[in-house]
Symmetry: C2
Subunit: 303 residues, 2 copies
Amino acid sequence: MQKINVAIIGWGNVGRGCKRAISETKDMRLVGVVRRPVSLYKNKEELQDTNVVSDISELKDRPDVALLCVPSREVPEKIKEYHEQGICTVDSYDEHSEIYALRQEADITAKVEKCVSIISAGWDPGTDSIVRALMKMVSITGRTTTTFGGEEGGRSMGHTVAVKAIPGVLDAVSLTLANGRGQHKRRVYVVADKKVNTSQLEKQIKNDPYFVNDPTEVIFVKDINKYNTLHHEGEVERTAQEVAQKYQVSGVNPEFTANVMVAAARGAINLKNREAWGAYTLLELPLIDFLPGTTLKEKLEGY
Amino acid sequence: MQKINVAIIGWGNVGRGCKRAISETKDMRLVGVVRRPVSLYKNKEELQDTNVVSDISELKDRPDVALLCVPSREVPEKIKEYHEQGICTVDSYDEHSEIYALRQEADITAKVEKCVSIISAGWDPGTDSIVRALMKMVSITGRTTTTFGGEEGGRSMGHTVAVKAIPGVLDAVSLTLANGRGQHKRRVYVVADKKVNTSQLEKQIKNDPYFVNDPTEVIFVKDINKYNTLHHEGEVERTAQEVAQKYQVSGVNPEFTANVMVAAARGAINLKNREAWGAYTLLELPLIDFLPGTTLKEKLEGY
């Protein structure tokens, strides 16, 4: 069996998770990691068995698919960049209200360049989106609520990245806590640059698009390690008169997000092999395309 | 919008559930119920607003899709019968080990007759199969277990139908109870014909293919009503080092099974409209095909 050549773009927590996830598959192989040059020599040990380059063209083996493990805001531009080189992409783009627009935009370049992109293939949006669709099949009426973080709170990767990008923030972690009936609140721990006016910085965080719609508490701390975590958890619920459903997931957020991206990479290549070029969300693809295995019979085992 | 014409084949609990489910959709319309002639005049009230016939050819409006609400053992033959008339079918065939074979068999006649069949589109197999595939995306390693019935037990429709089909059984209900680590036991309440040797009947039940692999308790009772229930519940779990997942469903089993079948009917017609004739399991179709709505944008709302 010819393995799928995969490149990881970006070396944050999700990128690390993708390396582990690829190593757990039998049908993929990591051809390299693309990082910004500035960080080339950090964390050398964890990458000592891996080709690390600052541009994908430097990789010896051409990747079939690029896993975009970069902040959501950089995703649209990266998709275009890789499409132009005929490389499929997978991302976990998390700005819910922009997903349809991004899908439509990526669909155009994907079709022109004869490649495939899977958009928003993470946890939520991503597999939780599949769960919400599934729950609508099981229960025609009813209301679906999605709750993250429980009482203790869990790390939101998107929100953490958004806070860290604000000038004056040296380090940060943004926790999401359940706030009743599918509502949430945010708790942000921030190590601020000493030169910065913290009350102004607090306002800036609260007005960021990632935070402006939820009650947000900003706590300035000296050391982030005490508050830092990669754990997150969530629950999707739907209840109607005749049936109640609940789906729960908990664990190391970037690790399970990476698992989903790697499954989506398999899906992208299956589609490309069928010449079904274009951009897709997870709902637009048969789940069987994400599963390992070569024959239909094998994939339907345990159905 | 032109509505999808749906016929219900069989008037048991699932058939009744399908009538309710169709009435909750905006894109489908019930054109009639096909029943055995012998039962034509029972339960008149619940069918007084419905065309009831003993053969589908008697229906005034031709159905686009037939929901096969008959015992699993009758499904293969019914699929063929409706394919020959160019009518799509949906079933909730539950013999796990035979699903692949049935799909392959139905695929042939569906392609010849230019129609679409969705196989095993119930709860389990069905939406639980989707959940198991989803859980493999979220967690590459780990083991998935499916448990039904909890400690109290729930009604297995397939097992109940199987017991009722045994000569000498006047009425019955078969409960499935969790028995640890994805294992199950069965408890069967039976009203037996007085002329029957109950110890022989008990052996026959325990040796039936539906029961032979699980510890089974057979209890003979005078009146089934005290023990009868339509409730069932189940749990799919998968745990790996980095992530734990759980999906729970509980409620009126034939009602939520019917919801899934009706969603699958929509999927069948979407496929037929794309001329993608053939037979499919739920894993082979994009979930978006099962959702109500006309535009992609609308269907991706809340993604």
